[in-house]
Symmetry: D2
Subunit: 332 residues, 4 copies
């Protein structure tokens, strides 16, 4: 049977997207309520994820949640800002200043509260500022010790909220401590708390020469920890945050197949940066690529894919995929 999947998007997709050259953004700034309305125009989109401080906080939460509801959407997840303020520049959980580590823990807990209150019960801890830029700039062991310590503290704070952790090889630091699927699985194993999960950003996987499907499969093998997806595409050497499906067609199909196989039930959420592009257009396309590739997958049949994978015959697998892709029955 076909599983149902649900699509969300980061709200930033519908904002003014900026980079280090055009700091005021390639598009005009708009209020959050406007961004939510724009999001609601994307076909098949059912949820939005928000960043605390950028989009939502204790004061405006009721209003924003009402906006989301009236736009016909749900809140899929909340992100504490641990990477968008100058104070985090030299790290959050791994800052060598105890005060900063404490502030990062407090920020995380505050967003856990908000997630509990809003009912989404998932937050995304992405430690993008925790790493180093230069040789001789980090005590690697100390960094892990602090990360473990702060994560345990936060996880114990509210066991009903799941802390998703997102790994990334680099950027904004040239090297992030929790940079690969292997390191994140090690971290979760070390912290030993049930309310920790993996948020797989497939662009981060691609950037690190990982195979997205393999990273998803390993998250199953090591404790079934995958809880949420961040979807985008890139050219493999940087987190370009492009439209899903725009470059890596076959690997995306393989990921979709493995997500079925490991029975992933979480949100398929867009994390793209449409600097110069029509945001509704690229968000819609991202979803349609996934839906079309899922049609290809079910048209071929999960069992036949499983058989050809087990055979390890590259030519046979190619033929199966290619013929399935180019013989798709028209949609009624």
């Amino acid at each position: 049977m076909k599983s149902e999947i649900t699509f969300a998007s980061g709200l930033h997709v519908f904002g003014s997207t900026a980079d280090r050259y055009v700091l005021s953004g390639y598009k005009p700034k708009v209020p959050v309520s406007e961004m939510i309305k724009t999001a609601s125009k994307v076909e098949d989109l059912q949820g939005v994820e928000l960043v605390e401080t950028w989009h939502i906080n204790q004061d405006n939460a009721d209003e924003i949640l009402a906006d989301i509801k009236s736009a016909g959407l749900k809140l899929s997840m909340l992100l504490p800002d641990l990477w968008a303020s100058a104070k985090w520049g030299m790290g959050t959980f791994t800052s060598n200043k105890e005060k900063i580590r404490q502030e990062a823990a407090d920020t995380t807990k505050r967003v856990m509260d908000l997630a509990a209150q809003a009912g989404c019960n998932i937050i995304d801890v992405w430690l993008g500022q925790d790493g180093y830029d230069y040789p001789f700039q980090a005590d690697y062991i100390q960094a892990w010790e602090w990360t473990v310590e702060v994560l345990r503290d936060c996880a114990d704070y509210n066991k009903n909220v799941t802390i998703g952790i997102e790994y990334k090889l680099k950027e904004p630091r040239t090297h992030c401590f929790i940079g690969t699927i292997g390191k994140l699985l090690l971290l979760i194993d070390k912290v030993k708390r049930n309310n920790l999960g993996i948020i797989l950003d497939i662009g981060h996987a691609l950037e690190g020469y990982e195979n997205m499907a393999e990273s998803a499969a390993l998250s199953k093998y090591f404790g079934d920890r995958l809880i949420y997806l961040h979807l985008n595409d890139n050219w493999r050497s940087w987190d370009d945050d492009m439209m899903v499906g725009s470059v890596h067609t076959i690997e995306l199909l393989e990921l979709l197949y493995w997500l079925e196989r490991i029975e992933f039930k979480g949100w398929y959420s867009l994390d793209i940066f449409p600097y110069r592009d029509d945001s509704v257009g690229v968000a819609s396309e991202s979803i349609q690529w996934i839906k079309d590739l899922r049609r290809v997958m079910f048209h071929i049949g999960l069992n036949r894919i499983e058989e050809v994978v087990a055979s390890r015959d590259a030519a046979k697998a190619s033929k199966l995929i290619r013929e399935g892709m180019f013989s798709l029955p028209s949609q009624s």
Copy 2:
């Protein structure tokens, strides 16, 4: 109107493929006549390219050409060995030994003679050993001077044979002098001979973060020099020489579109290394991917593609390509 295209393959595809670990090859060694027979089993394959010394030489040329003919194939191109013998280790056209440079020129001319005699009239000069491995190991200016000198000498030797030049960023040297489309176009411009052309290996383009379509387009803009294609696929950071279409679907489609637009008329030739794979299977799949993507291209229509490219609207282009790809009419 649809153009007709013709497919060739390097004969090595059907041999014992070896790498630096399994030097005796992943498959049993077979005689050249056997490889030609195997090649003839690949659907839609019309030509084979051969390496002098490995596959053909003055002594056995009549016999080999007869084998090719009786297999229903044509000789598409000849390659002088300028990269498979220990004597070339420190370079051929750029060796700092005059004797070696002379021997490389003689080898090239000898294969030009063979190409003229066999009627294919194209050879492939790939200067894979001409480069450097370490800092402080090359006089970059001298290397270019020698390359220009030897190429002029060879080009003048027989103006009826076209010397195709193939660029590659690295391997077997960690850096090759003629490493990018830009450098090759500069070289051709400097040498100033009409019988020089570009052999675009799309895997070499991908390895160098080039866009295959853009490299083909530039070869048109700078003197319309594209004469022959080497087709394969890879994971972007190395010349993996994989089955065509196995990784980069959309970019391959864009290349096929630009090949139409620049009215490329040469061979579409496979340069893959099926170390562990069924060689007929992966060669066939390579061709079928190209044929299917060409069906997609003509189904969408070249004019509609041209329009969407001119609009520079990424979402619109995605929609056009995606809908075209997944609404392909069944083949009768």
Copy 3:
């Protein structure tokens, strides 16, 4: 004899450095006059380069130039903003809107006027927004035609000002048209104007798997066009804009050697982004690495380096460099 070299720096090094996450910058904003004062604290720094609109314009030029002078510095170069405004998002010289191409030309000419008036006589045209992000998003041939056309127009506007052109593989676009040393040399050859030069950003070379020394040497071989250096360092796959010498020691030494050999006389200018670092500290270190490596170079002797390069013996070259580096006489 040892050549004298002169160091400059981009003024942005001393400002609030921002990235796409911390858009307000990792450091407080300061006025231009303050940045100039900070720059003057860097030992051995003699010049600064400024971006029009960010740092200088027709209205404040006299004041800013006076500030530079009173800080004991010179103006080394001016950059038109062709990459920091939302209006340039889809390109400048290659925009498909004639109005934008015209505005880009006008901007360039306006900064040429300013450069003439200020006496530096060099501007830096970096076409970072001219490229594409997605497949099927650019007409590669048209883009080159427009680039050639606008460059000719600008070059002819004032032959006493040299237009330096800076190439970069990617960022802010995922692919820039003028992305490699090869492509830039082709462009200059096509435009055919004497007042065009190359601004070599060594981080851009590294990002594109170029060898910095080789790129400098080729700029000599093809018309002796190198006029200015942008210095920084990175981890090879992205333009990290780090402190010079922080990662690539030996290759930097090789570059310094080739700069002597090709008799480069221009500014050695820093283009680093010290997001989280002491700006005076990293600028000073950048200069001191270059000075120390030049001491190593002269301690070994240019002739001995030339000999070992000509020998192509990697072990001998290593020994020469290593022993030179670790036997440096103490400075008096």
Copy 4:
């Protein structure tokens, strides 16, 4: 106090080095006894590591071990061939043929016996053929299950022999299952046997955008598992197996510092491929770079390095390293 370190080398360094183009090798083939004699010419080299079948087997072991001894060397380690025979092409521990998995286990145990008999007590299990080349070519979960199973079986076979495991991102497969430090640490944690260790090939770390020092530090943090080093250098995107110190000077110094800090006591062994180079020359240079950089390290002082690392001040760290490097007292 300065620690003493001991240098070894793979014996293949002194053989005929081949790649996929020059399959017969860039140098003449020589008998093993000759290679051992050549190795003994490398200053400061004390050990050699050998590959079973290539260099040593049950029949010639006594003779080879005598040759090593009479050359004044020791056997540092043994490697089972799990990657140099066509039969392993589709995997060893993860082959989908039970017979092959059994043969791989038997091979491993046979070399464990030889290691016990020869007294080195360490073997290197590098699973280079265990991975995949294409999408849809591997059951990632099954592969890990089999790897765990076979490793447990081998580890239990003889608890007095340590099985070192070497990770590598790619080559000969385009993707290897045990590809990163994170994945290897996960594997060791899963297998749960005391006689498992990590063999860190620093070129493999570089190839995967790892920081060598960080990978060493993590191997300490997760169970103190580092037992042996494979040393070389490369250009970051491929396992070029170059002379140590030829490209990455500062990072190598940082690694040497962390090896002291984690009190690493194993062999510093060369794994370089001097295709075109004087093998004794590049092996000697590799060792001398390490010795000179260790001189720099002790000249600066471990405590001062530790302090500057803890400060996270990139400019200060640069100054400390740079001044230490260029003020080295002459050796008496």
